[in-house]
């Protein structure tokens, strides 16, 4: 038994020691791994990537979407193929719904010289009208631009990393799941933040190779795309919707897939004709199974072809606009 005062001295001493060790771990973790700021590791990794590797003032093109944006458009290739795109940034996040993509686009304000936005999407991204909870774009913008005060940054990182068991788990998974280019969880960004996959012919993906998605699309998803287009036009930014290809065999075999793609295209056409923007339909590309990782995700070879087509459309559209003095 201790005297209560002595007991408190021991208690506070122990807590102080644990607190110091924990703070050291958190600091070290946030330097080496994506700090869990959001509830998506690919989002966290992207925020850290932009903060450390991107000059926000240089970016002229933003790519956004789910994994369909992350894997199917290669920013570095886009810079090579297009005359107009000089500095691309792929802000896509795994599993982002259309409404979440709209939320991600709120980060575009951190890049003052953006001239175009490419929303890379497949109809299968649209079934849910889900948003990120507790989303604070202002803090994230400042984080990416290194503009948070030391106190605000410490607070953000403490809130992000204080769940140490979670961080330890993330640390373990990082190498095995997120640094392997033959896994869909790969997060090895190119210099623009894109993730070209090295998965060929649906190896090991089972039903994801031969089962089509149901053609469910939430109406709110289309409203979100309309809002994105309208906002882009208001800010003088070109808005492109890149409708990514579906595995050709499934496209030709299943009427439900063809109907869903047509329905999506019709809806987008009516949106862009009202709010501005360009629909890039990529189903027409002459792709085969060697260029697909699964039914909707392209591997690096397929993504290069899709990116080339996007680049060609951008150049053509913006040259025409220039000639017409728009």
């Amino acid at each position: 038994m201790f005297h209560p005062k002595q007991y408190l001295q021991f208690l506070f001493g122990t807590l102080f020691l644990i607190g110091t060790l924990a703070a050291g771990y958190m600091y070290d973790f946030s330097k080496k791994f994506p700090p869990p700021i959001t509830n998506r590791i690919s989002f966290d990794a992207k925020l850290k990537f932009v903060r450390e590797h991107i000059d926000p003032d240089q970016i002229d093109t933003i790519i956004v979407g789910s994994s369909i944006g992350l894997n199917n458009v290669i920013g570095s290739k886009l810079e090579d193929y297009s005359e107009k795109v000089h500095h691309a940034l792929n802000l896509s996040v795994y599993e982002a719904t259309t409404l979440e993509a709209e939320q991600i686009l709120e980060l575009a304000e951190a890049f003052p010289n953006v001239k175009r936005i490419i929303y890379s999407v497949q109809y299968s991204d649209l079934p849910h009208a889900k948003r990120y909870d507790n989303y604070n774009p202002e803090i994230l913008r400042k984080f990416m631009r290194n503009e948070l005060s030391p106190v605000a940054l410490s607070q953000l990182l403490f809130n992000a990393c204080n769940n140490i068991p979670f961080c330890v788990e993330r640390e373990k998974k990082w190498k095995n799941e997120h640094m392997q280019s033959d896994k869909f969880t790969y997060l090895g960004f190119d210099h623009t933040g894109s993730v070209p996959l090295k998965i060929y012919k649906g190896k090991g993906v089972g039903g994801r190779w031969y089962l089509p998605h149901p053609g469910i699309m939430h109406p709110e998803s289309f409203h979100a795309i309309a809002r994105m287009a309208a906002k882009a036009r208001k800010n003088g930014i070109e808005f492109y919707v890149a409708h990514q290809p579906y595995r050709p065999e499934l496209y030709s075999k299943h009427k439900s897939v063809r109907d869903a793609i047509k329905y999506f295209d019709d809806k987008i056409m009516s949106i862009v004709s009202k709010h501005g923007g360009v629909l890039i339909q990529l189903q027409k590309l002459p792709l085969n199974d060697y260029q697909f990782a699964d039914r909707t995700h392209l591997n690096d070879k397929g993504a290069a072809l899709a990116t080339k087509e996007i680049a060609r459309t951008i150049d053509k559209h913006e040259k025409t606009n220039k000639t017409q003095g728009k």
């Binding site: 038994m1 201790f2 209560p4 408190l8 208690l11 507790n134 809130n159 204080n162 769940n163």
Partner: protein, 425 residues
């Protein structure tokens, strides 16, 4: 607060008022408090129901609910009523303000009574640093933190999955969902109360006990003597007894009991599911009283089982966002697909849609430790001492020091951000 303090003073003054009677003043005071509460908490509920009944399209106000309004409204009404009964003393305004806004218990209780708090605030000895109280306070606080952050938030994930995410539940999933919520609510709310008691104790202020192992209760009456004790106390002293309590015959007693719990349900939230929850508990208490009047007895174990099952089912309505959600869970619990182990398939050639073999849950299949958590949760609530019993046993020894440190480690689980459930009430 100023209004209530001034009114309380006036009501407590023994001099006879000339123009307005004390009763009128009391009615004005209570109405003022209830109107404020009604406006902020129940206005949208009221408008939504008017719209539903009349087909009108009055816009909802979407008012931000002032933090803890239900708690301090009750405390101030109690103060006014006791002033009217001339049971209050000459209180200092500063102490009154601390009583109403005392931060440890402000947002989720315990609901404190002026007679137990104001003398403590006024006592000069309580202004002297007390190392023992700080040590106990830290221990109880850390225990509450652990209950909230580690236990309640773990169960919260499964409860949320079942109530808010899944559209249909099989029998096992539905029971996991409802039990998870039953445990989540207890650990969340009692954890919060422990934190409040712990912090207050560091300032030498003793808050009243609010939970006394409620899930050990063997009757519904016993449950309400152990669950949110300070709310039950308020309902008894300021609603049940003024309605007549049990002094006006059996039928009137049943009615009073029922009304008290109906109002208790409404106090918890602006929604028909809360009203229904209040009706269920009011009804259960009436049946329990009737059973006792008949002089009938029940084996303790059966009594516990029935009480726990009833509480578990009633919490479904308390938690569900709508009756549809509640019915979804109840349908799963009592009419959902029965899940049997896969290996039994060879022994029973049942070709029935009501039975499934193996693959017990798509919803929870990733949760390896779910059953262990549920089992451990039940053991803790049924067999281990509660935090007040721990508090009584506390000694500044190595064991309690290590336990406190261990509990404080739960601060490293804070990432699973979630609000305290009782913040809304």
């Amino acid at each position: 607060m100023l209004f209530n303090y001034a009114l309380g003073k006036e009501l407590a003054s023994p001099t006879k008022l000339k123009k307005v009677s004390k009763k009128t003043l009391l009615i004005i005071g209570i109405a003022f408090n209830l109107l404020l509460l009604g406006y902020f908490k129940y206005m949208d509920f009221f408008i939504a129901n008017i719209n539903r009944v009349t087909g009108s399209k009055i816009e909802l106000l979407h008012l931000a609910l002032p933090l803890a309004i239900s708690f301090y409204t009750f405390q101030q009404i109690a103060y006014l009523v006791d002033s009217y009964r001339e049971e209050t003393k000459e209180y200092d305004f500063l102490n009154y303000a601390v009583f109403v806004t005392f931060f440890p218990q402000l947002i989720a209780g315990p609901i404190v009574h002026h007679s137990e708090m104001m003398p403590q605030f006024a006592n000069l000895r309580n202004k002297v640093k007390n190392y023992y109280n700080i040590a106990v306070g830290l221990f109880i606080f850390s225990m509450g933190l652990f209950k909230k952050v580690v236990i309640a938030d773990t169960f919260a994930q499964w409860a949320t999955q079942g109530f808010d995410v899944s559209k249909e539940l099989n029998m096992l999933e539905a029971w996991v969902t409802s039990l998870s919520y039953t445990l989540q609510l207890y650990f969340d709310f009692s954890g919060y109360t422990d934190m409040a008691i712990g912090i207050a104790l560091m300032f030498n202020i003793k808050l009243p006990i609010n939970f006394d192992s409620p899930y050990k209760a063997t009757s519904i009456q016993g449950f309400w003597r152990r669950w949110h004790i300070t709310l039950s106390r308020f309902l008894r002293d300021y609603i049940y007894i003024p309605l007549g309590g049990n002094r006006r015959g059996e039928l009137r007693t049943y009615t009073n009991l029922f009304i008290t719990f109906l109002l208790g349900g409404i106090w918890h939230g602006a929604g028909w599911t809360f009203v229904f929850w209040g009706i269920l508990h009011g009804g259960a208490l009436v049946i329990h009283r009737f059973w006792k009047q008949l002089g009938m007895r029940m084996p303790k174990l059966l009594g516990w089982f029935m009480t726990f099952m009833f509480i578990n089912i009633a919490w479904v309505f308390f938690r569900a966002n709508s009756f549809e959600d509640a019915i979804k869970v109840l349908k799963g619990m009592f009419g959902g697909k029965i899940v049997l182990p896969a290996w039994l398939h060879d022994y029973f050639s049942i070709n029935n849609e009501a039975v499934q073999f193996g693959n017990w849950s798509k919803l929870f299949s990733q949760e390896t430790y779910l059953w262990l958590w549920l089992l451990a949760g039940m053991i803790v609530v049924l067999f281990l001492p509660n935090s007040m019993q721990w508090k009584a046993r506390f000694k500044p020894s190595l064991f309690y020091l290590l336990l406190t440190v261990l509990f404080f480690l739960s601060i490293f689980m804070l990432y699973r951000k979630s609000e305290f459930l009782y913040f809304n009430f």
